[in-house]
Amino acid sequence: MRPTGEVILDLRNISLAFGGVKALTDISFDVREHEIRAIIGPNGAGKSSMLNVINGVYRPQQGEIVFRGEHRRNMNTYQAAKSGIARTFQNIALFRGMTVLDNIMTGRNLKMHCNLLQQALYWGAAQREELEHRRIVEEVIDFLEIQYIRKTPVGRLPYGLQKRVELGRALAAEPSILLLDEPMAGMNTEEKQDMCRFILDVNDEFGTTIVLIEHDMGVVMDISDRVVVLDYGRKIGDGAPADIRNSQDVIDAYLGVAH
């Protein structure tokens, strides 16, 4: 196991309900610096809701989030993005008519300081800033090996590559925590292997902490340091992949249990 650092994100007793539907019930777990943390569970277990709580899309009714020592009732999206939490989505959320380059450039949005007028004139500070952003975006493109589609509109790319572009946009924000919602859903084996390699490389090269939701157990067991298991909005397991694999609760949740 790779060395991981301090706890940087601690979720304490989170409960989230939509009317009478309890999406999450009293869930606590933590994320350490530099680790790959997987969230698994059957459909409807509350995995995506959990990610949405982390980056502030949902406000939990109960519980507390401790992010880098700061206690919060809930996150909000702007704050989350500002403090270095980036994410990708289960259903690709890219600008289909824009090129790969432009899409990834949007990941730099929060770091652009020039105003609209300056950017329209593209002079002085705006130009310098754009050059710097472009350099970082190009590094991401280089990293993900998508140079050959740099100028291709995203809508024309196959699914696996669109997923990669989405990862690129998240990376362009230079996040300290990356939330990946089913990064490998719908991919073939080769695309999955590529994506695994990129996730590990991101974690390794940039030291990014990664929280991912994934259904492919092989992938989860291979790349994650620790795994949280949710079922019907409750936490039923938390630990190293090997422990999770042998946990009776988890096996029951996945395979069903004779009553």
């Binding site: 472009r134 350099r135 190009e138 590094e139 493109i141 280089d142 990293f143 090996e145 140079q147 050959y148 740099r150 100028k151 490389d201 390794d204 090269e205």
Partner: protein, 651 residues
Amino acid sequence: MSEYAPHDTFPNLLLHHARVRPRHPAVREKDLGIWQTWTWSEVAEEIAALAGGLAKLGFKRGDNLAIVGDNRPRLYWSMCAAQILGGVPVPMYQDAVTQELIFVLQDAEIKFAVVEDQEQVDKLIEARASCPLLSQILYDDPRGLRHYDEPFLHSIDEVQEAGRGHLREHPDFIAQEIAAGKGSDIAIMLYTSGTTGKPKGVCMTHAALLAAARGSCGFDRLDADEEVLSYLPMAWVGDNLFSYAQAMVAGFTVNCPESGDTVMTDLREIGPTFYFAPPRIFENLLTQVMIRMEDASALKRRVFSYFMEVARRCGAEILDGKPVRLADRLLYALGNFLIYGPLRNVLGMSRVRIAYTAGAAIGPDLFRFYRSIGINLKQLYGSTETCAYVCLQKDREIRLDTVGAPAPGVEVKIAANGEVLVKSAAMFEGYYKRPDATAETIDQDGYFHTGDAGYFDPDGQLKIIDRAKDVGQLANGALYAPNYIENKLKFFQYIREAVAFGNGRDQVCAFVNIDMGAVGNWAERRNIPYSGYTDLAQKPEVYELVRECIEQANAELAQDPMLADSQVRRFLILHKELDPDDDELTRTRKVRRGFVADKYRVLIDALYSERRSQFIETQVKFEDGRSGVVSAELAICDARSFAPQAAKQAA
């Protein structure tokens, strides 16, 4: 370094360019989306630092330096750095698997390797178990290598930094090392691909490579303003000549693409003036254009096909400076504005002054297409052993079926058995540690036996027809070259595979495999129903179609006095496709002539009898491993032949 040092080695030439054109771009590489440029003086500094660093690590005169990776500037620089130190660079194919690398690493007794990235580092670390000599590995791209703590791994940056320190302490080091080198030293070692037996290291001296590079630069008047794109494997002799030796002689700019996938885009951005590609690449480019034209609007398609017809009629002639009617000239000029110019631009060939192809026979339509839209595509002939420098086609003397006249300084003669023999200054020194193999290919008079069969046409242009071992004679003593005939047939889109027979016989006959896709499509458009390959192949209409192709080939063969007797008199269309699974083809899709002849003996006998048809039953293996039987009554058809004539045919 003395001002008057002879430019007899690559390091000397490097210093020469750094002095004469210090600010001229020597190398560009697209990195982070931007073309980064190094001038000749910067390149000289980088190479010196690398040489210093290598020396500090213990690289010595006579050592071999393995180089594995794509076309990256720093890999080219390590070639020169090794040459400065009196070592020999050994570029290897970057896609080679570990086992193949191990053979070369052991054979060449490699102690030092410079590689591109993690992928290659992993392979070499794996290879190290069987190559104990391998003691230092340098890498270009550090990505993914952060946690490798092997003490023998160094980044090129780090080595160069150490080298710069070393050079500060010993300012004369580089000059002394270069002065110790001679033109007769081995400059590079390239391993032949080894389709026949184990790969052999072909050793080439500075003098030989420079002779080839100077000869070809002079021949095509290449100067310092040329731009080339280096995208072919570094381990291949052609890349060595085009991207290294010629650049070192002429001082022109070598451009390294961003990645293997971006070559087409990079080609367009750079707009090379001198370009080399094997026929396969030209074919792919043309296919892409045609597919995109299919999707264009009706008006565009009509304009395109109209002007392509104009180009076909007079484009090649205009390029060759031949007389052309004024009306055609005007039409061509209009076409150039509307179609050919934009098309060249899309292909990245707007600025191409000279393009070469070699390595395989190029189809007539393909060759004519590029020439007719104004791209000066030419053919050359050479091999690793001859530094890819034997014959070159001269501007305006372009022929489809020859490879040109012997290049300046090259002596070519034809042995009694038709084999092409070559003698020139641009000749390899020998195979590494294989004097036996060297003695087999270079005779006492210093002629290199190419293994290719060919002859000179009346204009003194060399025509390569076949591998020497496949060439035979007809009963009347006329030359018989099966591959040449088969290639001619295979250029027709309807014919996928052909097998010619005729050695020792009175006439040539052939088996044909139709191209299921092309002929199937053709049949559908004519409402000819068929159930499968065997059925389609025996349709009288299909026989008629193939007969027309063969007769057209015969007409072309008749124009060549040497091969007029090789016209195909009788043929049949096989009832099944020749297949590697049935051992009829090799895995690289070459016909196993002897095997096919044995297997289908009854068909051959029928071809050489008066019969009009023959029954055959053949065992076949299906892809799922089951086997079955295909049987058919095969028709045998006569093809018209033509009286020999000595007319010339221009491309």
